[in-house]
């Protein structure tokens, strides 16, 4: 497969979080009874007119700023015509040639779904435009029904540059875009609620030759499906090219049951959507001052978080990536990291112990009793040798469940280290007396022997002995 270069572009529809729909005042709300959030405007009754929801403009500008894009000072809406029952006007108000947002960048990194590391870089984003969502059709065999609650929900259509070369990179792009949208409060990107829907364009070619014919995979609403379908397409297209079969421009979809993409329709000619400027909406003119104002109010991006974590808290790029996947986690880490000497310890605790405890419990961090201060206290106890490193894993589960201080839990669980030389001496003497063989080995210069002896001391102390002090004492006594 390696002799072909894969070219992937993604078009992703993101539902913007707003109080009301984009062109009327109906609620933008998921899960309401069918056709309860509708009005003459979003049902396209005769005579109605659209009015742009300022909040939707705020959201798209924020998305533009957070993706390092150019915000258009002059943009306009257009009508895109096609007939389908879920589209009440039979045209969609969208943006054709003058979108709000152009020329952005989406950083990628971390691990792909394959488990391989992804080389961190930026993928170009061509544009984001604002448009309205359509209703939801349900087919019942003999008839169909349409729920127009979704019709008119603001959609941000983001179009990437064709700059990704693997399913892992596409996965990382999707992850990064979702992250930005969530950090900005622009969208929850809940795929089950249809808030994040992806179309993939993919072609293969030999390096140095023109791009191959692209195939579109439509309506992918799960990150895993995006990844699987790309890998399937790469394999399918490679086989076709190898066998000398011409690839036609077509639209396919992912069939999860069969784990393959299946043909929907060929696209021999470009669709004629008869775009033209929406006469009911004047062009939107933004001032540079306004944009600067927005910029100053812009929430911190995941990228800015990562940079802060790497520079200020000295964590690795990969750690920073993992810690910022979720904004609540990132905020938690940032607060906890400030309170300790070695933020890396906080990072390790969060990425390992805490992470596995949370996934076992099936909980999000914010759903637990753990506060950043608890983590600070916990790490400080360890930094001050009050508890051992291994005690952290024993104390943390309690802190998740109960509103207690780390110190209290350490005491409750009898995990406070014994730093008293008198007590330590007793255990060390006891162990030296009981293990002449190991003592002999130690004296012969076998380094492992000290570890064995220390283990015995820890056992005798039921984990409370301070390991560095124990080692020091053994060395002193036996030399």
């Amino acid at each position: 497969m390696s002799e072909y270069e894969v070219i992937i572009g993604l078009e992703i529809h993101v539902q913007a979080k707003t109080k009301s729909k984009v062109f009327c005042s109906c609620k933008n709300e998921y899960g309401a009874p069918p056709n309860s959030n509708v009005c003459p405007i979003c049902l396209a009754h005769p005579g109605v007119l659209p009015v742009v929801n300022q909040e939707a403009i705020n959201q798209i500008v924020k998305a533009g700023l957070m993706t390092d894009s150019k915000i258009a000072l002059y943009s306009k809406f257009d009508r895109k015509s096609y007939f389908y029952p879920d589209q009440p006007k039979n045209y969609q108000i969208t943006q054709f040639d003058l979108p709000f947002v152009e020329a952005g960048k989406i950083p990628i990194g971390g691990k792909g779904l394959s488990g391989e590391m992804i080389e961190p870089r930026e993928i170009g984003m061509e544009r984001i435009h604002l448009e309205e969502d359509v209703g939801k059709s349900t087919h019942h065999g003999t008839h169909s029904t349409v729920d127009y609650n979704r019709a008119g929900v603001p959609l941000l259509e983001t179009v990437s540059m064709p700059e990704m070369h693997s399913a892992d990179e596409a996965y990382a792009y999707v992850q990064s875009l979702q992250q930005i949208m969530r950090y900005g409060g622009i969208s929850d990107c809940d795929q089950e609620k249809g808030q994040f829907r992806c179309d993939v364009n993919i072609s293969i070619h030999k390096p140095g030759t023109p791009f191959g014919t692209k195939v579109e995979i439509k309506n992918l609403n799960s990150t895993r499906h995006i990844w699987l379908s790309i890998n399937y397409e790469i394999e399918r297209q490679t086989e076709m090219v190898e066998e000398g079969i011409e690839i036609h421009q077509e639209t396919r979809r992912w069939n999860d049951a069969r784990q393959e993409t299946v043909h929907m329709r060929f696209k021999e000619t470009a669709d004629d959507y008869r775009y033209f400027p929406e006469p009911d909406l004047p062009p939107v003119v933004l001032s540079s001052d306004q944009i600067e104002q927005w910029r100053s109010e812009m929430p911190m991006t995941p990228k800015a978080y990562r940079e802060q974590f790497i520079n200020e808290f000295k964590v690795t790029e990969y750690d920073a990536h993992v810690l910022t996947l979720d904004k609540a986690n990132a905020d938690f880490f940032a607060e906890a990291a400030k309170g300790v000497k070695k933020p890396k310890t906080v990072a390790n605790v969060m990425m390992n112990t805490l992470n596995s405890l949370l996934s076992e419990a099936g909980k999000e961090l914010f759903e637990t009793e753990l506060k950043p201060q608890d983590l600070i206290d916990l790490v400080k106890l360890q930094e001050g040798n009050v508890i051992s490193k291994s005690a952290i894993a024993k104390i943390l589960p309690v802190l998740l469940e109960e509103n207690k201080s780390a110190e209290q839990v350490a005491k409750d669980l009898d995990l406070v280290q014994q730093n008293d030389t008198g007590a330590l001496e007793g255990w060390v003497d006891e162990v030296i007396a009981a293990n002449p063989k190991a003592v002999g080995e130690f004296k012969e210069g076998q380094k492992n022997a000290v570890n064995f002896l220390m283990g015995q001391v820890m056992k005798a102390s039921r984990g409370k002995a301070n390991p560095p002090m124990v080692i020091q004492m053994i060395n002193k006594k036996l030399s």
Binding site: P40, A44, G47, F83, N90, F276, P279
Partner: protein, 488 residues
């Protein structure tokens, strides 16, 4: 003098003086409708009970000292493409049948807030597409001055009903001349306001960038009165202009025409099919204005000859999308003899829309299909800019422009409907004002040898309504044009 002869402003004075009640006015008009509607065909529908209930409510307000003001109790008719809650707005088509509106258009809301009685719905060309009201699928409207003749269109019902005294005043809509031309044909006053002065919310769209609601009335003062009520900003219409003007009627008096510069565009008198009577009558009106003290200056609107082509590209492009919502899915008539969605669409629309509407939908679809080639729509937009600039240059030399409304007077029914090109070309003198987004009014200035009315068109710059109405009013008062009495 019968109540049906009253002008709106006279009726308002009588209501205020307690000389007449809204119920008496409405009953007199309903009786007139009973008597002549069969001949004229101005109304698509009128709900007598609703009319009288609104009149009674108004009278009760007045009696209890809580009148909503000068306009409370005035009956005003609306064109069938204006939405009123609880009524159908069929747009003289059969395709929307059965949809009872669940909201009020902004103009109807304003009428109601002023206390006006919505006095029935006036006939029109289907979806305002036509210049004769003959494309109405609902009924035929005749010109009260000669029942064999068309009333003009598309607001033919509004014009005919005012002329036949079935109602005192009406709202029309003007996309390419649809208020001014029928006003001219029926010998009444019709004003197409500046684009955005009156909210379009609740006006069933034909061509969104050209449509504008405006008054149609017996005299200039009534048009000013209606415009006072219906104009103003609207948060539901992003193309509506900010502000609200309340003194169009109040500023009519005391205006001095002396020194006002009136532009006369030669192009408007040389169009194909210009009838000698029309030309002579309009020229006489101009001479009268000059005699009254106006200064006449020749102006040029050189791109007039492209107005029709430009208009039909833009209007049909917008229309084909505006009318796409009528397909039987959510409301209206649906063809049900098929399980195939495409066939359902095709049959519903082929059966529901009349020939002229279908022709314009196809034209619009065609001009937009080449959008990316910039063949039609982009070029039309560029020419539209040139036409707008023609007016801007002209208004540097004059205050207002005077010209005919249409090259001919009302003609016999059936004469133009078989020849769409002829019908389209007849809009040559009115479409430019819509393309420029400016204002224009038609005022009666005479009649031809057959006794059919002729209109003088006065055009003004954007938001030039005040001057426009003042001049039209001065002309009306001084010229005292006497049209042949309508006999039905």
């Amino acid at each position: 003098m019968s109540l049906i002869d009253l002008k709106l402003h006279e009726a308002a004075d009588k209501l205020a003086a307690g000389e007449v009640t809204s119920r008496q006015l409405c009953e007199a008009l309903l009786a007139r409708v009973d008597a002549v509607e069969e001949k004229v065909g101005a109304l698509v529908s009128i709900n007598n009970e609703r009319v009288l209930a609104a009149a009674d409510a108004s009278d009760a307000r007045r009696a209890s000292g809580s009148s909503l003001g000068r306009y409370d109790g005035l009956p005003i008719t609306i064109k069938d493409n204006i939405v009123e809650e609880g009524e159908e707005s069929k747009c003289a088509s059969s395709i929307i049948d059965g949809l009872v509106n669940v909201y009020d258009s902004t103009v109807v809301r304003k009428l109601k807030e002023a206390g006006c009685v919505v006095f029935g719905r006036a006939n029109m060309d289907e979806f305002a597409m036509g210049s004769t009201t003959e494309t109405s699928q609902i009924k035929k409207t005749c010109n009260p001055h000669d029942l064999d003749c068309v009333p003009g269109g598309s607001s033919g019902g509004s014009a005919a009903g005012v002329a036949s005294k079935e109602f005192l005043g009406a709202l029309g809509s003007d996309t390419g001349g649809s208020i001014r031309q029928p006003a001219s044909f029926c010998g009444i006053v019709g004003l197409k306001p500046t684009y955005g002065l009156v909210s379009r919310f609740g006006l069933v769209a034909f061509a969104s960038s050209l449509d504008q609601i405006g008054p149609m009335s017996k005299d200039v003062r009534d048009s000013a009165l209606i415009l006072d009520i219906i104009n103003g900003e609207d948060e539901k219409d992003s193309t509506a202009l900010p502000g609200k003007i309340t003194d169009f009627e109040a500023s009519l008096e005391g205006f001095d025409i002396k020194g006002m510069k009136l532009g006369v565009p030669a192009e408007y008198f040389e169009v194909e099919g210009m009838e000698a009577d029309v030309k002579a009558s309009v020229q006489a009106a101009i001479a009268k204005l000059e005699a009254m003290g106006a200064e006449i200056v020749p102006v040029s609107l050189p791109h007039t000859k492209y107005a029709i082509a430009t208009y039909y590209v833009i209007a049909t492009a917008e229309a084909c999308t505006n009318l796409a919502r009528f397909e039987g899915v959510r409301y209206g008539n649906r063809y049900t003899e098929t399980d195939d969605i495409l066939e359902m669409y095709n049959e519903t629309r082929s059966r529901g829309f009349g020939k002229e509407v279908q022709r314009r939908i196809m034209l619009g679809t065609y001009v937009l299909s080449s959008y990316e080639d910039h063949k039609y729509y982009h070029r039309a937009q560029k020419v539209r800019t040139l036409i707008r600039q023609d007016f801007e240059k002209a208004y540097e030399q004059c205050d207002l422009i005077v010209a005919p409304v249409a090259p001919e007077t009302a003609f016999k029914s059936g004469e133009s409907s078989e020849d769409p090109m002829k019908m389209y070309l007849a809009d040559i003198l009115t479409t430019s004002v819509n393309l420029a987004g400016t204002c224009g009014i038609s005022v009666p200035c005479g009649q031809d040898s057959k006794g059919m009315p002729i209109g003088l068109q006065v055009m003004g710059p954007a938001l030039g309504e005040k001057k426009l109405l003042q001049l039209a009013y001065a002309y009306e008062q001084n010229a005292a044009v006497e049209l042949k009495e309508v006999e039905l």
